[in-house]
């Protein structure tokens, strides 16, 4: 009698362990896919920004024809960004593109008719949204990496992570710290 009880208890515990292993493994796989997805989302949004820039330039050209240098620098930065391959090159080209766009936007401030133009307003909203999306995609990527890394480190899921060789992922760092500082304005 007690023998059979012990037998069933052991069977129960084994089933529980197997179920746990399966769910833990699945959630690790799910997290790894999430990290991959979030990474590709960043690419999607960068691509979206590249597609918007010709639009922006076209709309603005009619109003600020003599700002040739600005247009050229934006188009050049875009061409470089689309051509860049490899993570460090892409990151560098994209941050140069961001810089070119923000410089462009500062110059736009001098053209009130352009700022009231409907098409330009629409493109500006899309561009601003894309910038936000890139930032949020990075944020989501970092969140996903945080969860995955936590799961890999923490007991007991760390055992499964060790068994099936799950590697920790790297966070997306802000590429340029000077980007975040506010430019100084002097009145002299």
């Amino acid at each position: 009698m007690t023998g059979t009880i012990v037998f069933w208890v052991i069977i129960g515990i084994l089933i529980f362990i197997v179920l746990y292993l399966i769910t833990a493994y699945n959630s690790l796989i799910g997290l790894r896919n999430l990290v991959k997805n979030s990474w590709s989302q960043i690419d999607v949004q960068l691509k979206r920004r590249h597609d918007l820039i010709p639009n922006l330039v076209e709309t603005a050209k009619g109003y600020m024809g003599h700002e040739r240098n600005t247009f050229e620098s934006v188009t050049k930065a875009r061409a470089e960004a689309t051509a860049a391959r490899g993570v460090p090159q892409v990151a560098q080209a994209e941050s140069r593109l961001s810089e070119a766009i923000s410089r462009f936007m500062v110059i736009v401030e001098n053209y009130p008719e352009l700022k009231a133009n409907q098409n330009f307003l629409a493109v500006q909203e899309e561009l601003a949204s894309t910038e936000n999306r890139i930032a949020f995609a990075r944020q989501a990527y970092n969140d996903a990496v945080l969860f995955l890394n936590n799961k890999i480190e923490m007991f007991p899921s760390s055992i499964i992570a060790g068994m099936f060789i799950f590697r920790k992922e790297v966070f997306f760092e802000i590429e340029d710290t000077t980007e975040r500082t506010v430019p100084k304005v002097s009145f002299n």
Partner: protein, 501 residues
């Protein structure tokens, strides 16, 4: 996968829902027994053995009632609810900014599918989310909210609703609401049927000694439950609702990295005199602020925490936008150490810095007179009105029924042709308003700064009795002023720029 953060918090909600379930089960059991004593459903010998058969039947009936309610509310489609609220679906073409903001938040929360977007024809500012799972959800905002909120504020509100979706609050609140419904239904119908109960029968059947004592206990406990279980479940229900609101606020701050956005939006909602007319009572917990009972804000029976408190908590988050920062602020505001968000969720080794506000070019200028018209324009645009700006500053709004052809401006009599209505985007409509009503001024940032310096100060009007935020003309940052502050002038906390009020 944002779900993971709230996993431990979910357990707490599950526990509260379980307690509600136990209350429901006990109520069913005792009501079954009481009904049995009154009517003599089981025969006398069975009663003598105290088999509690009637109690189990009552328990099963209570369960069946709850499951029936749950099934009907789960099967009742969101579409139905949305159409009852008078919501209309919008696309990217009609309102690009709202669509973009929702897509941004979708990316930030790693939601598997883009929620459907709806706008309600209502000048009262509010928003809500529906959808039982993150795969199938909708976000709905009122035209009034779109009219008064800047981009950052709208983002905060949308992120709050996104928090409801990712935390599966709609599911929790549906389960809790149906339990509350079942408890109320059983207790009420029992009390009503007492009028017709043949009490004499009970007396005749309780002839055996010993059994009487148990029956007395049954009656005492039973009546206690019948009277207090509806109140208890209601308190539980509203506790769940409020804790989910706090969590959604914390989620919003974490997603946007900008708690000030939601705080400003809530402040504007609080100050708005409009009240929502299309809200259904059962769905009150899904709105960003309670569309009902503003006077009951601080009681046990409120679906939402008091607005002022929510705003204060968000504004106190100075160290970062992570969950632990929210909880710290919550503790400071309420002077308690309640476990608002489960400890294991806060242990995540995350340091989240608050971002800067969006550039002012994207912020629509607030101001009550402009916005009342704007809310109307949004509604008209949704109903396929055509907008024709006239050179005299008049903006004609032509309804879709109007025969195409020529129309004369009612003010200056200039002729205009009414073209076939092509869907206009909101940015275009708002642009036509601003292009003619206010001549665009060259806004040189340097000039604006020097102007402010020459002038020396900035004049603002204050609304008494509330928190308010002003944008500093000198450094562009936001300065908050508490209702307790009564002096006619103050300085910007960042750059010392002088404000006069």
């Amino acid at each position: 996968m944002f779900l993971q953060i709230a996993a431990a918090n979910k357990r707490k909600t599950v526990l509260l829902v379980l307690i509600m379930g136990i209350v429901l089960a006990l109520l069913g059991f005792f009501v079954g027994e009481l009904v049995n004593l009154w009517t003599g459903f089981t025969s006398a010998p069975q009663q003598a053995e105290n088999t509690f058969k009637a109690g189990y039947i009552g328990f099963c009936v209570a369960l069946a009632i709850w499951l029936g309610l749950l099934l009907t509310s789960m099967l009742g489609s969101d579409q139905l609810f949305l159409s009852l609220s008078g919501a209309k679906e919008v696309t990217h073409d009609l309102y690009p900014q709202l669509y973009n903001i929702i897509e941004e938040m979708k990316i930030a929360s790693s939601l598997p599918r883009m929620p459907d977007i709806y706008i309600i024809d209502d000048p009262a500012p509010n928003a809500f989310a529906v959808g039982k799972s993150p795969e199938d959800s909708s976000i709905c905002v009122t035209a009034g909210l779109l009219a008064i909120c800047s981009r950052d504020e709208l983002q905060g509100v949308v992120a709050h609703e996104m928090g409801h979706i990712t935390n599966r609050d709609v599911l929790f609140m549906t389960v809790a609401a149906t339990m509350l419904g079942a408890v109320t239904l059983i207790a009420d119908s029992f009390l009503h049927s007492l009028r017709y109960a043949p009490i004499a029968r009970y007396r005749s059947s309780s002839s055996k000694p010993g059994k009487g004592l148990i029956n007395v206990w049954l009656i005492v406990l039973g009546f206690f439950l019948v009277i207090f279980s509806p109140i208890l479940s209601r308190i539980l229900y509203f506790t769940i609702s409020r804790s989910r609101e706090y969590l959604a606020d914390a989620t919003s701050a974490r997603l946007t990295r900008y708690p000030e956005g939601l705080a400003c939006a809530l402040e504007k909602i609080m100050l708005s005199p409009e009240k929502l007319t299309t809200a259904l009572k059962a769905t009150a917990p899904f709105y960003i602020t309670n569309p009902y009972k503003q006077d009951l804000e601080d009681s046990l029976f409120a679906t939402h925490p008091p607005l002022g408190q929510r705003i204060k908590i968000l504004r106190l988050m100075s160290t970062g936008a992570a969950f632990k920062d929210y909880v710290k602020a919550y503790w400071a505001v309420t002077h308690t150490h309640k476990e608002l968000i489960a400890a294991s969720d806060m242990k995540l080794g995350e340091r989240i810095t608050i971002r800067d506000p969006s550039p002012p070019t994207l912020q629509s200028p607030p101001g009550s007179r402009v916005t009342a018209g704007k809310a109307g324009d949004i509604i008209r645009a949704m109903n396929q009105f055509v907008f024709i700006p006239c050179e005299c500053g008049m903006k004609m709004k032509i309804p879709p029924e109007f025969a195409r052809g020529e129309i004369r401006c009612p003010r200056c009599n200039r002729p205009h042709t009414v073209k076939e209505a092509d869907q206009q985007t909101m940015s275009a409509i708002l642009a036509t308003t601003s292009a003619f009503s206010k001549p665009a001024q060259p806004q040189d940032p340097l000039k604006a700064k020097t102007d402010a310096l020459i002038k020396g100060y900035q004049e603002e009007t204050r609304i008494p009795g509330t928190w308010q935020s002003f944008t500093c003309n000198s450094c562009g940052r936001i300065v908050q002023v508490s209702p307790a502050f009564k002096l006619p002038q103050f300085n910007c906390t960042h750059c010392g720029h002088l404000f006069k009020v």
